[in-house]
Symmetry: D2
Subunit: 393 residues, 4 copies
């Protein structure tokens, strides 16, 4: 029977669940766009976003999704024919390379595994081989939402440094920003890319690119620049609309201002700590369920598991059936495995606006659905998760 008639719980790896405050902010009527409160708010956002990335460097807001932010990063720093090194750890760094390739960028993939992070030692080896410094940039994701790995961004930086390689270090934090610790300046990241709809708790439609002086220098000679993405044209001391290369995304900016307020009210360190505990609860749940072998966390090393998303291998269990029962009978939408995980995994997003009732409700419902389909699970995952959270309260 269907018990789904309540508030839907959507636990996919983005968009995350939006706070009521954010949705209310988005509902404001269109204001004057030439001057006044909107323009002031816009500048306050540009001043606050670097804090979220722990950087002194400026940010550019793109009216686009995350793929658009990828393109802004590429087109502002590279030339046609440039070569980049893509550090594989799932799907999305390679997708970024694919996107760049349409503009004429060549890329080499440093092969990774599906169940663990990028190996910094392998990065160092490959970069040392690149004696002529053909690689103009190294592309990596902090979190890959397909595998649910989190890479050690500081360690990869050390690999570049050890290899004395001048490539730009570009990191995609689309899935991790606002969930996982990220220190742009301390970790030596040159370009960082994010989007609105995950840890930043704003509906999709905004991208973000932070870039340091080294990237600004590369920009000067980049020949992939286009009118829409070009950093030089987006001067903050000119007419307000040039910041957005056209009409500002008003409703989403209202939402973003509110979401940033919420992040700062909680405190970024607290936000990260909260996601750490909640992710730990997911891990505890899957480990309890895995006793009889039915389920397994995809990422084997505990340190490399994402604070924002968990990919769970289902072995003999049909993930589509599990997901269907959750959604139609119980009101819970899970993510499915994508790419090579199709048909053999499901995913739980645990990013953004998330607390114990939401997460334990998700895990409890998965447990109920596992029981309903007769899945061979072991102990109670939700009990383990509740215990994990109880220990942290």
């Amino acid at each position: 029977m269907s018990l789904a008639h309540g508030r839907p719980m959507v636990a996919i790896p983005g968009p995350s669940i939006m706070p009521d405050r954010v949705m209310a902010a988005m509902a404001r009527p269109m204001p004057n766009i030439y001057d006044g409160p909107l323009v002031d708010m816009s500048h306050s956002i540009l001043a606050d976003l670097p804090k979220v990335a722990r950087t002194e460097s400026p940010v550019f807001i793109t009216v686009s999704n995350g793929h658009g932010a990828w393109e802004m990063a590429i087109s502002n720093t590279l030339c046609r024919g440039d070569k980049v090194l893509v550090l594989e750890s799932g799907r999305f760094a390679v997708n970024w390379g694919d996107l760049a390739a349409v503009s004429g960028v060549k890329f080499e993939v440093l092969a990774g595994t599906e169940r663990g992070p990028v190996d910094p030692a392998a990065v160092e080896v490959r970069l040392r081989e690149d004696i002529d410094h053909e690689f103009k940039a190294v592309l990596v994701v902090q979190t890959d939402t397909a595998t649910s790995v989190t890479n050690d961004i500081a360690a990869v930086r050390r690999a570049l440094d050890a290899a004395k390689h001048p490539a730009l270090y570009m990191v995609d934090c689309i899935a991790s920003l606002g969930c996982e610790r990220f220190e742009m300046d301390e970790w030596g990241v040159d370009v960082m890319v994010a989007a609105s709809q995950k840890g930043l708790m704003v509906p999709p439609g905004l991208g973000f690119v932070w870039r340091n002086d080294k990237a600004a220098k590369a920009h000067e000679t980049a020949d992939l620049r286009t009118g829409y993405w070009d950093w030089s044209l987006r001067r903050q001391d000119e007419a307000h609309y040039v910041i957005y290369s056209g009409t500002p995304p008003i409703s989403l900016l209202f939402a973003l201002r509110e979401a940033l307020d919420m992040l700062f009210e909680e405190g970024l360190d607290n936000v990260w700590a909260r996601h750490g505990v909640l992710a730990g609860a997911v891990h505890a749940a899957v480990e309890a369920w895995s006793i009889r072998g039915g389920l397994e966390l995809n990422i084997t090393g505990a340190m490399a598991r994402s604070a924002a998303v968990s990919t769970i291998l289902t072995h003999e269990i049909d993930p589509d059936r599990l997901r269907r029962v959750c959604e139609t009978e119980a009101g819970l939408t899970l993510g499915l495995g994508i790419g090579s995980f199709d048909g053999r995994a499901f995913r739980i997003g645990h990013m953004g606006h998330l607390n114990p009732p939401m997460l334990l409700g998700t895990l409890g419902t998965v447990e109920a659905a596992l029981a309903a389909i007769g899945a061979p699970v072991g102990g109670s995952g939700v009990a383990a998760a509740a215990a994990h959270i109880g220990a942290a309260l």
Copy 2:
């Protein structure tokens, strides 16, 4: 540490959590109130509300809360000095009597217990003693939100019939309507009172009184009638505003129309069945927790437990501390024990717009908080609840 920064879960015994659809409906601008769509909608609501109570009798909508609906029921059917029999099963039937007493109605309480329902046999005995039919009405609640009992409304009717007593049978379903099965006509209820903010999923501010022909007959001689509550003045064939004795409660009517649509889309029998399963999950959870004696369901008989609310005795555990941890650390608001339960119980509301993620999130969070405060609980309640739900999916 606080993990509360997500969507707050409010699990109090009303107001319940409002559906997004209902809140969106409420946000519409003020319309023309003299004719047109608002008036049509108003009549559609008056036509649909009797279906929710399973009756052919008409309903009156009060611009008030549930106490106002109580007063409408009393003032339209009784005279100053009339005597009524109040069937105690907690707090609220007596409160209803108290309210009536201010208008000059006398009431006798048929004492009940705190941990079980009204005893129909005792009702029959008392009514048989009332040879002169001094009792003009019998007042009872279907569900008492203090004790979380649910009374057997049909059985009490049989008691009146067995005693051949002509008293009006008045039932308060404020906490139960839309959660618990209720059959006004089949069960021989003369007057039924409800309100918007629980199973009907509409913010507080609307009361409802259904009355059958017998009650309409009593109305003719009632001398407690007042201009605001008087049934005779609220004719549906006159100006629209007389239905509401003044300006209609527009926003709440928009909300109610949407909520009724949701109830009918799901089907009333399905709504009741869903609440039955979810209440069963709460019972399973408390039973699992009770193994070491820490917690106990207040209502001892399984058949008399409410589908809408559960009062849980805490024995050695401090319910205020439990509640505080849930609210400040985890984002869950529990109800506290009221009246004689103050300081020795907490309450979980499980009424209205509720599905497994919401309920299991609530139970999982209670379990985490119990662990956090070192409460002597036994097995995992949330695991038991998930298993209960899993068996029903």
Copy 3:
């Protein structure tokens, strides 16, 4: 052809157009109702409402519409069989008397005219005749929305004083509060009644009664008291819900808090001045239109015209046709004449959240519709209104 496809303008005499801020506030989820922010907000509202009435006396918030507030005023101060004097100046004071009569209050109407205010001299004469002080209260409206008159509340007080009559002085400001100057303490008003949906800019569903010490004294012996309305039971130092005689009207309280903030931000004197100018613009428009005799303001004396609503006599013009063209072709909803004005007047509400674009849009559309139906109007009303406003900017 229909040009109506824009933001509907509803210019009826209440409910008024709600501010976006108010509607957004109303959309918040249900909170904990036992303690915390809701309770704090509730007390802040009780503290602020007297400022709106310019009184040191307390206020009671009813979960009801304005008629419920009427009933609270009556039932808390009078006894069955008491006699009151109703000062006719249209429709609503008499309606108040009719409502009181259902509870057993007797009333005498001091007849008034349809086109002007209550005559204080006549009040004094009638009260002097009441040597035995049979009248326990005098009932009057500040503004009658049928005639659009505004009575001189201070002058009527002086009439009571001159007659040395001890009757309670009860004033209905439902249509005028927040539009028209009102000074409860300075003017010696004993009981004042209002509602949420007009000048207070909150959707209908809340009533308000302010009462001074004299009314509190009368309350002690009143025998019409009922459980729902009784002032004595609504103690602010007890459980929060007793303030509202049951569940508080949460969403509407959220809205009211926001609306009060808006009133105080603007400043009450500025609010009244704004309504004065805007009402003057309506008067200027009708006077311009009236040149050829087509239209006429109902209230002949300029000082007695309401700042909140204008009733406009239509003579040879069919007001239903005018209204239909405005609504279906142009997106403007006008009020119609009610009672004796049915078929010979229309009404423009100009209360609450109103500025020049809204009012001039209303007047301009009426002018366009008058032209469309070939009405014999004189000069341009909207031009006169714009000039009137221009002189005030």
Copy 4:
């Protein structure tokens, strides 16, 4: 004094005023993005958008503003070094050329005047001179929001045909779509670009590009293609997200679906007719005001005036002062003159969700403000506008 405390009227040339229905739709929670209702809705939008452009050709939705849509059009059809002819009629066609130039496109401007439309004869002459067909595309706007001109798109097509020139004909309808008649197929337009925030009544953040088979052919050899904009990659028969090159702009799609429903409910021909009447009212107002020379419509030829925006020259009147009085004293935000019109014009947007109360309120308020600043205006503009509308009702 300030009379501004009502619903703000924002009459700038975009974003336009959003319908309540659209804003409510945008407030829905994030759904499953992989399949189900969102995906169905997405395909319904793709099926319906061509109807708005009167074409059988497909549309691409960009997560961007209008400038992003410009870039999609350019990058999918041209090569580095290609030359295009830009038909000047104000500011925006040249801006489009400037944007293209960043990607390496060369452009020549066919000079136009500030006070009238593109001259099709001059286009024909210039294209005839281009014997080698160096121009790969001709760029023009239907409406320029700086000058408020509307170009004759069909006539320019005839000029291309007469010159037997194979250039792609690309039209920017950002400001005009949904206001002004546009017939993509009948008029032989190859690529059309629009955005969400004007006549389509959706907050900014969506761009649209329609392209016919000829443009699709050009796409095959275009070398400016990038991963984000590339048409070939956005296949509708693949995973839903590729349609949007990444995460779909969920909230704005909800809004767009509602806005399209509104357009179709009214009927596109009726929408255009409504804007024609309302624009005519603006023209009538300015002509009345211009009697004493104070104000003047920028576009001299009546046929070339936009149905969506009017630029009004202010001569001796200070437009900044006029605008400031309107905004701070009366709650009306006007557009200012931009570019060469800075300091000598203001603009009224009359696009999208607009009816007589809104427009007459705008014009009446301008008239009041003109009076307040002592501007030398002639007759009553708002009276003339009301008469114009009255004749059309």
